[in-house]
Assembly symmetry: C2
Homo-oligomer: 479 residues x 2
């Protein structure tokens, strides 16, 4: 009798812990050097190494593919290669499919062609297609050559659609039966087809021309009488997707209508794949991570535990961009060197005006990025939003700018300086509201990700304008 | 015969469009004022208003709950109340359960007790529990009083667990059958129970003491012979959750093991609820949004289209925090007023050093927040990460600091000034790496969200230290 193991999710950690401990004991956790298999021989005897590998293999065999992927991602240099080399072929394939881009690239680059063909040979066509960019062309050709005709066709279908589209996310493992049958014939056909694909909540049906004709749920099949015609069980609201649609829109549909699997049909209504809630959840999670990293100028493929030199280089575009914009923004200060020399307190106070504009603008952008992602912002209501943000900036500028001006007045015993600060802060909040509204809307209109680059543009504008407004006003009023 | 409607996800937009157009035609889209039902009477005849309401009701009746929720969220003031008042009771209940916190609060506050009882009466206990904080106590008491005993017990169970825990996310609608039966008896019991709860991929089983005894999948039931004992179909790897576990850990388990529904059992192994992939996906999406908004100092409950005054106030804590930290940071500039007066170019260049530290530190934080969320960062590998980030800051400080110093040397024809810039930038990058590593790790160790407040602390440190290091070095070397 099988008893449920009652495993709870804290067990995730428990499974990785023994492997981490072994790796720490083998003293590979802190070796940062790249893959140098021969160096090891000098340090420790081949026998010891073999014993360690056997222990590691034993501990690794308890993992599932997703566990192994997490482990590979969280190991630096030597430890990562050690685990990778010790992983059984099937587990290695499952793990490779789940790790982020840079880690996949890293592992593929460190693996000989023979093992690579073995590891990748166990993957489904759509999984292989997603890894294609990291696989050397000759290895990919060998894999393609050893595939069956059907799998090769599926591989080509998956490769046809852009990353992130329904066509690239869908799987090819689904069940389709003739719509003309009854429940008994369907059950008989499903028994032959066992095991059914994961997450099969419905069975697709096709007409006599092999075209998609709808779907029946497994529960309906279970509860119906055996002689019920399948046509009677067809759902009126059955949902289908086209391969060109974006994964984002598909995931909205899954969330709204509580879908588990959805048929993917081409323009002529032939069934070409199936999208499951599993792939959609992966997609949602990855998109959220992408956005968080992209807004700091990093790629979603980033490998936290990768080599130092690559980590340094991947930050260059962001550093260069910010150095350039900061340098240009400070040119606005240079315009007022004379004023600064006369009144050095201006130099002390100007960063406040610049930074508060950036902070307020980032709030507006965060709200708009979410509103656009949820498709709440349309032509009809965007005018309202612009007016609202401008009103808020005026209200908050008056209140908090007034307060700041008051503090400056007390600190420097100079009412005019306080007034200049209050007005400059209000004006810079208005600038921030304008940029915070206009940039995301413009980016969305141009079909770009509104989060991408928004903070650079915003900071540049609020810094430049903050310096210009504050020092300009001060020069006019105070000097 | 039912034909699939073949609706694709672009249809989401198509369904909302007619309502938006009607609202624009009725000229309520731009009215920002709060709920003033009597004012309307002055502007337009009661007859016209009634005709409009009838048209609006017709268009609204085509929506599903999730569509209605999206519509309510994206409408400002008057238009939102107009739609809310016109929504049929059931649709209004479904929508209320899905809108974000502030919108729910807004709508509940604008609704009379009678209608509120009607609207909320149609909700499931766990949905009602999630809305509890927005519902006036006397309305909640009336709802509780009119519930059946079972529902009232479920409501109390849901309210027992903190928001975001499995106990608060789970539903109470599930099927549990005696484990002693066979497939035929199970199918008979399920037929009586129709319609089955949404997303029923497995049926839970209990032993003679009513304790959870495992689960059988619907597909296994469908494919097994009618006289197969249910015990034979029990899955060895059957998964269960406890109500105290966090929704985050549960969602990791759903993603890793491709789950659709999971039984929730208490410590004595009584079945108390069911968590579905639907609730988990909502949770994942909401968490991602929370984090994006929280890092800009906003609540996930934020209502983009809410009243202006509330929008202004919700930004105060962030404005106040940033004003205070900016003010304190500039006190470090005030220490060097003498130096600034002697060499005004320092005032021009100092914001570059401060801002580049903040930008580099934000990259480190973004990587660490993701690494912590994916549970990739453990005690064993955190030393490696600290060393890596420090090495990166030294490498990039040398390269880009050197470049910046070179540019400054050329601009100001002053080699010593260029050297001071290069060294100050490198040192501030090291400060940024230290804070960027230490803050998220410390927050996680203390059980807090590592994204929350990280940018404020980082900016404050890199600004203060940037000013101090640059102006201090300059004073020592140049003056």
């Amino acid at each position: 009798m099988n008893q449920p193991t009652g495993s709870d999710s804290a067990a995730l950690d428990k499974r990785l812990r023994p492997v981490l401990e072994a790796l720490e004991r083998f003293q590979v956790m802190d070796e940062i050097h790249a893959r140098q298999p021969h160096r090891q021989a000098d340090v420790e005897s081949a026998l010891l190494r073999r014993q360690q590998d056997a222990e590691l293999a034993r501990r690794l065999s308890a993992l599932e593919g997703a566990d192994a992927a997490q482990l590979l991602e969280m190991l630096p240099g030597a430890a990562r290669y050690r685990v990778w080399d010790t992983l059984p072929t099937t587990l290695a394939g499952e793990a490779l499919e789940e790790v982020t881009g840079q880690v996949a690239e890293d592992l593929v680059g460190a693996t000989g062609d023979e093992r690579l063909v073995e590891v990748l040979g166990a993957l489904d066509p759509e999984e292989l297609s997603a890894l294609r960019q990291y696989i050397p062309a000759e290895v990919f050709a060998r894999l393609e050559a050893q595939m069956e005709a059907l799998a090769r066709r599926q591989l080509r279908t998956s490769s046809e659609y852009p990353l992130g589209s329904v066509g690239a996310l869908m799987g090819h493992d689904f069940v389709s039966l003739p719509v003309a049958g009854d429940v008994a014939s369907a059950v008989a056909a499903l028994r032959e087809r066992q095991p059914l694909p994961e997450q099969t909540d419905q069975v697709f049906l096709h007409d006599e021309y092999q075209r998609f004709a709808g779907a029946v749920t497994v529960t309906d099949l279970l509860l119906a009488e055996p002689d019920t015609p399948l046509r009677e069980l067809l759902r009126e609201d059955s949902f289908s997707l086209q391969p060109e649609e974006s994964g984002d829109r598909a995931s909205q549909a899954f969330e709204r209508y509580d879908l588990i699997s959805v048929p993917v049909v081409d323009r002529r209504r032939y069934l070409i794949g199936r999208l499951t809630v599993e792939s959609v959840m992966d997609h949602v999670r990855e998109r959220a991570e992408d956005q968080a990293l992209a807004s700091a100028g990093l790629s979603e493929d980033s490998d936290l535990f990768g080599p130092i030199w690559r980590g340094a280089r991947e930050r260059w575009p962001w550093l260069a961009t910010n150095l350039l914009t900061a340098f240009v923004a400070t040119r606005f200060i240079a315009l007022f060197e004379g004023s600064l020399q006369q009144l050095v307190s201006l130099a002390v106070l100007m960063p406040i005006i610049a930074s508060i504009g950036g902070n307020a603008g980032n709030q507006t952008i965060a709200l708009f990025v979410r509103g656009l992602a949820l498709e709440q912002i349309k032509r009809e209501n965007s005018r309202f939003l612009l007016r609202k943000e401008l009103a808020i900036s005026l209200i908050n500028g008056t209140i908090w700018g007034g307060l700041l001006g008051g503090v400056a007045t007390v600190f420097y015993r100079d009412l005019a300086l306080g007034l200049v600060m209050a007005v400059a802060m209000t004006l810079n909040l208005v600038v921030a509201a304008l940029v915070g509204v206009a940039f995301p809307l413009l980016a969305a209109r141009l079909g770009r990700d509104p989060a991408l680059g928004s903070s650079v543009v915003l900071t540049f504008t609020t810094d430049s304008m903050g310096f210009l407004i504050f020092l300009g006003l001060a020069t006019l009023v105070l000097l």
